[in-house]
């Protein structure tokens, strides 16, 4: 193995495991212990700002994982993984450490290891795949989650000795109206959500993390997203989904810590290792956009319950006006239709449940009929899966259902953030 003299100080005292370096020759840090103290930039408390004052770097370590209340970035690469049949508990822990190490570096705009893309041996393939070399961190966040099958397989096998710590509600979601799930396009033992303002940076993260996992875990399904469909900060303009409507106007915002604490972070009433974590639900929602596009404007607005231009509720006002479900029009009809999406999704009719939504538009080319294979890759974070179930169950008579199909579904428990130099999942395995 070739040893490379570092051109600059190691950003952390951690390193990839031997296993993680299996395909990554030349890093010279194999077997290094995780957890050494460091004052590196990776652990800086706040985000680093570029010259324009826009935050482009987020810390990886902290009480909560980044990528949840973080102001939603513009691009997504999401991947669900299955562990290989031979992976042991120790190897799983090692993988999580390797992933945290690499994620901590990449979120700071660094290569996946010190040797990286170009500082390794010319006789070995580079550690880092290199496509992000000249790009800034671009607000990259990397968020890890654990699926129900990590704890017990569908056959009830406890592969890693953690079945007893499985949260009671961490289970495959029930069947919902509009489900047209594609086998194999949902579920997963583990997941990684990579969000960035540059699509190449997000892809670089998933690509390198999946490479590190080779032999231990492989991608089960993955999803690229563009155009965030929710704002998670009051500083963000409400974006539009592919139906052309503003989406996420009433979303939970980071600036509302009470709601975030009540609705997003797992409290003391759940599995202890998950305190400060959250639950992540993904739903790949295919839009029947051809049918939608030839629907008259008035009907589109009735279905949503907001006007298309400004996003104001049909009960009146402007975008952020409260919805008035009681107000009626000249013919005594409710101004916000009884089946309108905004009415049925509203917390007043979902047992108070709210979701922190963080979805992205997607276009996966076209289907065999020549129609755009497009829609919304819905992502929500909540302190309990029951919140999502309450909301989704309530949408069974949503007028929007005529124009959508749910083709993918997954749920993951998202552990709390890692302490400096530790790894995501330490609260479960430590």
């Amino acid at each position: 193995m070739t040893t490379q003299t570092p051109a600059e100080p190691e950003p952390t005292a951690t390193g990839l495991s031997r296993r993680g370096l299996f395909g990554l020759a030349g890093a010279g840090v194999a077997g290094a212990a995780l957890g050494g103290a460091s004052a590196a930039a990776v652990m800086s408390g706040g985000g680093a700002a570029n010259s324009a004052g826009v935050i482009t770097t987020y810390p990886f370590f902290g009480d909560h994982q980044a990528g949840i209340t973080t102001a939603a970035q513009d691009r997504l690469h999401f991947a669900a993984f299955d562990l290989s049949e031979t992976t042991s508990r120790d190897e799983l822990i090692e993988l999580l450490k390797d992933w945290s190490f690499a994620a901590a570096r990449m979120t700071q705009g660094q290569d996946v290891t010190e040797a990286g893309a170009v500082n390794g041996s010319p006789l070995a393939p580079p550690d880092d795949t290199g496509e992000a070399l000249d790009l800034p961190a671009s607000a990259l966040t990397i968020t890890f989650g654990f699926g129900p099958t990590l704890f017990t397989t569908d056959d009830g096998v406890d592969r890693f000795g953690i079945a007893s710590q499985k949260p009671a509600l961490l289970a495959k979601l029930p069947r919902f109206s509009g489900d047209a799930l594609i086998p194999g396009a949902g579920g997963g033992d583990l997941c990684i959500q990579a969000c960035a303002d540059d699509p190449q940076v997000a892809v670089h993260a998933i690509r390198n993390l999946s490479r590190i996992a080779f032999g231990r875990a492989s991608i089960r399904w993955s999803q690229l997203g563009f155009g965030r469909t929710s704002s998670t900060s009051t500083s963000q303009v409400t974006p539009r989904n592919l139906f052309g409507f503003k989406d996420g106007t009433a979303n939970i915002k980071a600036e509302d810590p009470t709601t975030v604490n009540d609705q997003v972070w797992v409290g003391n009433d759940d599995a202890a290792w998950l305190t400060g974590g959250s639950y992540l639900v993904t739903r790949k929602i295919r839009m029947i956009i051809e049918a939608w596009d030839r629907t008259m404007l008035g009907e589109q607005e009735r279905v949503i319950g907001r006007n298309k231009g400004e996003g104001a509720p049909l009960s009146g006002g402007s975008e952020f006006s409260e919805l008035d479900f009681e107000s009626k029009g000249a013919a005594d009809q409710p101004l916000i239709d009884t089946d309108a999406h905004v009415r049925l999704a509203h917390s007043s009719v979902t047992k108070g449940s709210q979701l922190l939504r963080r979805g992205y538009n997607y276009v996966d080319g076209n289907d065999e009929l020549g129609r755009l294979d497009a829609g919304l890759f819905f992502i929500s974070f909540q302190r309990s899966p029951q919140q999502f179930i309450d909301v989704q169950s309530n949408l069974s008579r949503d007028a929007l259902n005529e124009y959508i199909k749910h083709v993918g579904s997954a749920i993951f428990a998202v552990p709390p953030g890692a302490a400096s130099g530790s790894y995501v999942g330490a609260s479960l395995f430590g």
Binding site: S177, D179, R294, E299, E368, G370, E402
Partner: protein, 404 residues
């Protein structure tokens, strides 16, 4: 929805009014014909007439209530109707007909297939400019309501026959009746869906009923019993076909059959009620809604997941869309050259779609099983549905002529 545009006319009383309103002032060419009705015949005194106002004097010599219809060339869309002709009664009404091919028929006791269907040709020149917008609109609504009720009345006995065979465990007969029993329903699907809880009971697919926690009943539950899945088959939501499912027991079959018959009867009662009405917008939106039914559920093969008789439903939806369009096309054509051109486009695309569907069979001879229709063939069908749906989706705007 622009409720201020709602046109509330319904029932037989309005019919005569609407039609008499169509009689041009210079009614020089009024033709008087007679119609002799028995329980199983429907004889019109002449099979041709000159364009313009045509009066029919109808005598019912039979034993039960009868109805007289004039259908457009598609034998579906109704252009004139006289209801409730009791035994011994002679009733009359006037139809304003343009040159073209029509069909006359009767319907004994208001239920089942039309009786004594006979071609009726109207000759001469188009009578233009004789009809007011208002009269055209009232006529469109009246005729569409008549069409809805006629379809439901055909549905009732077909469903009864299918349900009887299913309940008796005569699966072979039930399978042979399934697809055709659904066609009338598919032609008027948006109307049935407007009655909230009826469509879920009659036509819900398993995945939707299960997800909504509803007791799964109706056509598709019967379909799955009749084309029972094998281990390893998947449902349309990607789950195992056998999950939460078991073949219906004889008692369940009886209950489900009775339920379908009762629900279809309720639909019949609702559309035959005096207060049943539709708006002009309902008609033109119904046309595009039926096309979207095709684009969303039929093209993908999800509708008849077990029987693969999707093309029957497909055809029924297209027929229903064309009837709805036919009811309002004169209104659309009257709105100027551009609107008239759009109507021509729609007619051409309907013809192309029906020609394409014709390569897969017909209602009479049966349609190809949809699981044997290749991806390339499905794409061609989808393309033609889109080609029609784009101009058709502008119909309501033109028909209602809403000023921006």
């Amino acid at each position: 929805m622009p409720n201020r545009l709602l046109i509330g006319v319904a029932g037989a009383a309005t019919l005569a009014l609407a039609l008499s309103g169509c009689v041009p002032n210079n009614a020089a060419s009024t033709t008087a014909l007679t119609v002799a009705i028995t329980d199983d015949t429907c004889a019109v005194s002449d099979s041709t007439a000159a364009a313009g106002a045509i009066s029919f004097s109808i005598t019912n010599s039979g034993t039960g209530v009868n109805e007289f219809y004039i259908f457009a060339e598609d034998k579906l869309r109704i252009v004139g109707e006289k209801e409730n002709i009791t035994p011994g009664q002679t009733a009359s009404f006037v139809a304003q007909l343009e040159p073209g091919t029509y069909y006359t028929a009767c319907k004994f006791e208001r239920v089942g297939a039309p009786i004594g269907v006979a071609e009726f040709t109207v000759t001469g020149d188009t009578v233009t400019g004789s009809t007011s917008d208002r009269a055209l609109e009232e006529q469109a609504v009246t005729n569409y309501i008549a069409y809805i009720t006629s379809q439901v009345d055909e549905l009732v006995p077909q469903v009864a026959a299918f349900a009887t065979a299913y309940a008796a465990g005569d699966d072979e007969t039930a399978r042979s009746l399934f697809a055709s029993a659904r066609v009338s329903y598919e032609r008027i699907e948006p109307t049935a869906e407007a009655f909230g809880d009826l469509d879920p009971k009659i036509d819900y697919r398993e995945v939707d009923a299960t997800a909504e926690g509803l007791d799964w009943t109706g056509f598709h539950r019967m379909e799955k019993d009749l084309w029972a899945p094998q281990a390893g088959d998947l449902n349309s939501d990607g789950e195992s076909a056998l999950l939460d499912w078991a073949p219906s027991t004889p008692q369940e079959r009886q209950d489900i059959a009775d339920g379908l018959v009762a629900n279809v009867q309720e639909l019949s009662d609702l559309v035959n009620a005096d207060d049943f009405t539709v708006t002009l917008a309902d008609i033109s939106n119904g046309a595009i809604a039926l096309l979207d039914e095709v684009a969303v559920g039929k093209i993908s093969g999800e509708e008849d997941w077990w029987s693969h008789s999707d093309l029957y439903d497909f055809f029924g939806n297209v027929q229903g869309a064309e009837v709805a369009f036919g009811n309002v096309k004169d209104i659309a054509s009257s709105k100027g050259a551009e609107s008239s051109a759009l109507v021509d486009d729609i007619e051409a695309e309907f013809a192309a779609l029906k020609t394409l569907l014709g390569t897969y069979g017909s209602l009479e001879s049966g349609f190809t099983s949809y699981d044997t229709v290749t991806a390339a063939e499905r794409k061609a069908l989808s393309n033609q549905v889109n080609a029609l749906a784009e101009p058709l989706s502008n119909l309501t705007h033109i028909v209602l002529g809403v000023a921006e």
